[in-house]
Amino acid sequence: MRADHAYDHDETVPHTHPEPGVDPHPPLPQLDRAVRIGIGGPVGSGKTALVAALCRALAGQLRLAVVTNDIYTTEDADFLKRAGVLDSARIRAVETGCCPHTAIRDDISANLDAVEELEDALGPLDLVLVESGGDNLTATFSKGLVDQQIFVVDVAGGDKVPRKGGPGVTTADLLVINKTDLAPLVGADLAVMDRDARARRGTLPTIFQSIAQDPHASQVAAWVRHVVAHSRGLGHAGAQGDSHAHSRTHAGAEGHSHADAQDRGPAPAGVR
């Protein structure tokens, strides 16, 4: 571990917050194409609902398109079309040959084709959301396909999921712990999930949310705006105080955010 890396993954050691305003990650390279954000996670964790919420929140602000990788070709794409959150011309479904993780990680060609077809058909885009099919905790996106990835788990999957870790929980650029409104019903301890996520993820941000209570997934949408702004070379110049790092927010569960000054979600800086 590098000396300047003051974080420790050991749960027994108190977790150290990074300096506010210091982004622990190198900035995304400036892109001359749409930012691609992967959204993965286990079956039923709410990926499609999150995509729908992000479309609601962002479709009026960003030039947006969605690629879905459901195990069944058009299931998720149809859900989005029915939900009416995005014009159907902005949604493509990719067949995955029974292997959703292969299509997003090992052989990304069909997804790259889908992204390029959307760009060809729609003109320049700001953001492409690539939704994986429901898979297991090891399924992550190839860096050849996406620039950033969100991993979605839900409290109903058990509060042990963050502790179990796996590449999705541990390395995703953003971990979303979904359906917090169900926590009392399923006996999930959000504090335990928060502690375990911190231990697993170091400085990487985690957002607790309930789309039932926040249909626009405000905190995640803010994070996405931030990523898009960074890729455009915006946001970094004035990033002092912009706490990309270690957001630890708890949106929606009680109708408001627990974010404090140092722990607020990423600032949606400079996005049209």
């Binding site: 058009t74 067949e95 040959g97 029974c98 060609s109």
Partner: protein, 235 residues
């Protein structure tokens, strides 16, 4: 020297989009025509007798055309693009199902993407432009040439891919014993070698003389499959 390149390109893990194509097996399974290992064996024999000669011959002919360009610096670009275009049109006329034409071009586009990144070459740019991509056998022939393989190796990879694609899909769709499926493929190896050798042997012929085997159910079930609301494989 290039043996590893040969294995790389033949490997099912080469990221060229093949994992999402069952080459008609998903439709055959849904129609109840393939339910077990014996059905898969019949299916694969059909694919080997009908699809592989065409695929392998067009791959080999493209390879030969590309390799000749590479070894003859005096050849002008039109020397090679005319045969490529002719190969493209002849293969198009052999692929009567629009769904299969699209599947072939999508796989060709994916292979081209992988090939360009793995073995960069100017040859890829000489393939005829088409919005859905080049036909897969043309993309394979050019990629094999860029990788430094022989015409025989290109044909062998093509014939082998005709078998392994649906075999792999069968393991996923039917839950067949993977050892039994590998045993089946091993038993078909001799037949596969023969088809590949025959394809390489006709690679020098004019495109219109290349094999044109048609399998009615391949076309019919590809079109039925394309109408499904819910499918696991792209073809």
């Amino acid at each position: 020297m290039h043996r590893t390149a040969y294995l790389l390109l033949a490997d099912g893990r080469f990221p060229s989009g093949g994992h999402a194509h069952s080459s008609g097996l998903e439709a055959a399974v849904a129609a109840g025509r393939v339910t077990d290992l014996a059905g898969l064996e019949q299916f694969l024999h059909g694919r080997l007798s009908y699809a592989a000669p065409v695929t392998a011959a067009f791959t080999a002919a493209t390879h030969l055309s590309a390799a000749r360009t590479g070894s003859a610096p005096s050849a002008t670009e039109s020397d090679v693009t005319v045969p490529f275009l002719s190969l493209d049109r002849e293969l198009e006329a052999r692929t009567v199902s629009p769904a299969l034409r699209l599947a072939s071009r999508r796989q060709g586009r994916a292979l081209l993407r992988a090939g360009r990144n793995t073995w960069p070459s100017e040859l890829y740019g000489q393939l005829p432009k088409h919005p859905d991509g080049p036909h897969q056998p043309l993309a394979l022939g050019v990629t094999a040439a860029a990788a430094g393989l022989s015409t025989e190796e290109a044909a062998q990879i093509a014939a082998y891919g005709v078998l392994t694609g649906p075999a792999s899909a069968a393991v996923r769709l039917l839950g067949l014993d993977p050892y039994q499926v590998q045993n089946l493929l091993a038993r078909m190896a001799g037949a596969c070698d023969e088809i590949a050798a025959a394809a390489a042997a006709v690679a020098h012929k004019s495109p219109q003389e290349l094999p044109a085997h048609a399998a009615p159910l391949a076309d019919i079930s590809a079109e039925l499959h394309a109408t499904w609301e819910v499918r696991l494989f792209a073809s």
